[in-house]
């Protein structure tokens, strides 16, 4: 046990009060503030998603008109991507756990960490600002991809949202920068690169992408704003611009950003599996290096978003080949996770349930990516519901399930209280059922050629849409159950010990909730964080 504190131990949550939260530079509090902000936006975007699904319940327009449907699917996309899932795991669990896992007192630049949180809030405010104004003038209806030339001559609030996304880009770059410097320079003595937890490896590769991809979308959105304000002719065809160039620049950022979303989720799963199967992770270096490999390869593959936009023959040929290069490291990770359970002693608590659910859903997501990478089939599946199902399996089935699993796993560490295990399991199965009921029919809709972003559809697609919309309602209820359980546990849960799941990782060696300066004195790390087999002799 670390030497007793000079003054008695007080968790990081005291002292409270607005001043101490508004000006805090403690990475744990900033992690919590991010958590509250992104869950708030998750609920808003989720409601928008449910409105979209409610509208698709039956052919014909029941609840909203065409413009309303376009507004809500745009809001669902924009808020989910820029405000919830890009900050997502790195900003919440990443901020909270990175210094704890590598044995540091705080991130490299604490003030910059606080600055990037308030830049995030400013960006979120500017995005929400676009909703102020007349219904058919201000509410953005261009889809979260802002494709020109529609986003140039659309009368709706493109400028506030793109400006907000530009500002959020800064917050994401600064967080990435903070994490990379922290991992490079502030690891505890003895914590070599190959003794770091795999969550830190995945945060490192996600931060690399955040740093290197975000500036390109920053300049693209800036050019879009300039084009709308000053009529500078980069993207609009009348002024000699090329709308496909916008697509190229947008997806040069937006494909790496989907790997920012999924890599930390893979890191969380790689943390949960060894703890609940009491066995060392299988192929530590394979998983660590495939995280970095995905981060590097993710910059070469954006062309598959433009397969049908009139690209040249050889351009499609090469981008299809490169897109398959991303499938290999992902496959290696999945195999290594499954091998981790071999000859372990598996305890199916709720975090483990989420981790196995992640593997199940993510294997569907990964495998349905193959027809989208193959040119022959992608020409048919492009911009149909097959793509919608594919990326929801990756984002919701992957990232959100891993985020919720991670929250369950580290909740005792964050708040020092345990959640109700039964409700958590019920919540998982409700989510699993609702999610599959929503998105499995969409694959078949994609086969039939039902295009994306359609407010109304022809009669032959009606029954699958009906089933999918019902599933979406169950999906929504599941989140209410899960988040309610966690929030209740944060206040009234029974006290959790220092290490309820007796994990060997560094963050479980300090009392929970951890004191302000994490470690009394920086620990020297001598063993590997997954040495489960050896100790118990």
């Amino acid at each position: 046990m670390s030497s007793t504190e000079t003054q008695e131990y007080s968790p990081y949550l005291q002292p409270g009060g607005f001043k101490n939260w508004f000006f805090t530079v403690d990475h744990k509090r900033i992690g919590l503030m991010y958590l509250y902000a992104i869950l708030f936006f998750f609920i808003i975007a989720g409601v928008c998603g449910l409105i979209v699904k409610a509208e698709l319940l039956a052919p014909g327009m029941q609840f909203v008109d065409y413009h309303g449907y376009n507004v809500f699917f745009t809001l669902h996309g924009t808020i989910m991507v820029f405000l919830f899932i890009v900050p997502g795991i790195p900003a919440t669990l990443g901020n909270f756990l990175l210094p704890l896992m590598i044995g540091a007192k705080d991130v490299a630049f604490p003030r910059l960490n606080l600055l990037s949180f308030w830049i995030y809030v400013l960006g979120a405010f500017v995005v929400i600002l676009s909703l102020i104004g007349p219904w058919d003038e201000a509410w953005l209806d261009t889809g979260w991809t802002f494709y020109t030339p529609y986003s140039i001559d659309s009368s709706t609030g493109v400028i506030p949202v793109t400006l907000g996304a530009f500002i959020l880009g800064f917050s994401s770059v600064l967080t990435g920068l903070n994490f990379v410097v922290t991992i490079h320079r502030m690891r505890a003595p003895g914590m070599t690169w190959h003794r770091m937890p795999l969550f830190v490896w995945s945060l490192y590769s996600a931060s690399l992408i955040q740093i290197l991809a975000t500036p390109v979308v920053g300049i693209t959105l800036l050019l879009l704003i300039m084009e709308r304000l000053f009529g500078i002719g980069f993207f609009s065809p009348e002024l000699g611009g090329d709308p496909i160039m916008f697509e190229n620049f947008f997806w040069f950022y937006s494909h790496p950003v989907v790997y920012i979303m999924i890599l930390p989720a893979m890191g969380v799963v790689a943390e949960i599996l060894p703890v609940f199967s009491k066995k060392a992770i299988f192929g530590y270096r394979a998983i660590a290096y495939s995280s970095i490999a995905i981060a590097l390869v993710s910059f070469f593959v954006w062309g598959h978003h433009l397969f049908v936009s009139g690209m040249s023959y050889w351009s499609r040929w090469i981008f299809s080949l490169l897109t398959f290069a991303v499938a290999i490291p992902t496959a290696i990770k999945v195999f290594n996770w499954i091998a981790t359970l071999y000859k372990g002693s598996v305890k199916m608590d709720s975090p483990m349930l989420y981790a196995c659910g992640f593997i199940f859903l993510f294997s569907i997501a990964g495998l349905t990516g193959i027809p989208l990478a193959t040119l022959a089939t992608d020409v048919h599946f492009h911009d149909t519901y097959f793509v919608v199902a594919h990326f929801h399996y990756t984002m919701q089935g992957g990232t959100v399930v891993a985020l919720v699993g991670g929250l369950h796993f580290w909740w005792p560490k964050m708040y020092g209280r345990m959640y109700n295990e039964l409700i958590a399991k019920v919540g998982f199965w409700l989510l699993f059922l609702g999610f599959n009921a929503t998105f499995m029919p969409m694959f078949i809709l994609g086969y039939w050629g039902m295009p994306r972003r359609y407010a109304d559809y022809m009669a032959e697609f009606a029954d699958l849409h009906f089933a999918s919309s019902l599933g979406a309602m169950v999906n929504g209820i599941a989140y209410i159950v899960i988040l309610g359980n966690l929030v209740y546990a944060a206040f009234k849960g029974r006290a959790a010990g220092k290490n309820p799941y007796n994990s060997l990782s560094l963050e479980w060696s300090i009392p929970s909730p951890p004191p302000l300066t994490n470690f009394d004195e920086i620990p020297t790390v001598t063993t590997w964080t997954y040495g489960y087999g050896e100790e118990n002799t």
Binding site: Y12, L112, V216, I219, I232, L516
Partner: protein, 207 residues
């Protein structure tokens, strides 16, 4: 900024202390990474430049002919000198020579303002011809105003950064052998601004 005692620990004004050499190395690595993002920001613009040059080659030749290469070369030389004096300023801070540090910072700011003045005349000439963003400009001048405008913004940010360093060096006498990190960071940023102009000058003015 001194740690005000009445703030609770772990807040903006009451940080835990870090070993100065450690902090210096962190600061420098962080700055280099930030420079990488700036390079990619301008990289996106240069990519637009190359694509549009491919699509409208003679439009760009005509546009470049329209620009005043002499002013461009002048600007390049001015920025190179400002980079030189900035490097000397960092060198002076490392050696702890206060007077040389202050003089070099002042010289860098002077070269910066000369750059701004030349840029002002150039833009005034362009606007005189009626090519100003907002008049449905053609591609070349859109790119011209976009790149030089963004670069100008970075020059202004860099100069205010150096102004802050000057204020701290003169009033607080903060920079000496043991604590010159701030000057080095300012220098890195200013050199980046110069490097971007080095790439921008031939592409826009000469070819």
């Amino acid at each position: 900024m001194a740690n005000h005692s009445n703030w609770a620990p772990g807040t903006f004004f009451h940080l835990h202390e870090e070993d100065p050499v450690e902090e210096y190395e962190n600061f420098k690595l962080g700055m280099w990474i930030f420079l990488a993002t700036e390079v990619l920001l301008f990289g996106g613009l240069f990519a637009v430049y190359f694509v549009m040059k491919w699509r409208y080659p003679d439009l760009f030749l005509a546009g470049a002919a329209q620009l005043n290469a002499l002013l461009g070369t002048g600007n390049t030389l001015v920025l190179l000198c400002s980079s030189f004096t900035m490097a000397l300023a960092v060198d002076a801070a490392q050696r702890g020579q206060q007077k040389k540090l202050v003089w070099n910072l002042v010289l860098t700011l002077a070269f910066g303002t000369v750059f701004l003045i030349i840029k002002f005349f150039e833009w005034k000439a362009k606007i005189g011809h009626g090519w100003f963003p907002g008049l449905n400009l053609d591609i070349f001048f859109s790119i011209y105003f976009m790149t030089t405008g963004l670069h100008l913004l970075h020059v202004l940010v860099g100069m205010s950064f150096i102004g802050l360093l000057l204020y701290r060096a003169v009033v607080h006498k903060r920079y000496h052998e043991e604590n010159f990190g701030g000057v080095e960071i300012g220098g890195l940023y200013w050199h980046l601004v110069d490097v971007i102009w080095i790439f921008l000058f031939p592409l826009l003015y000469l070819i």
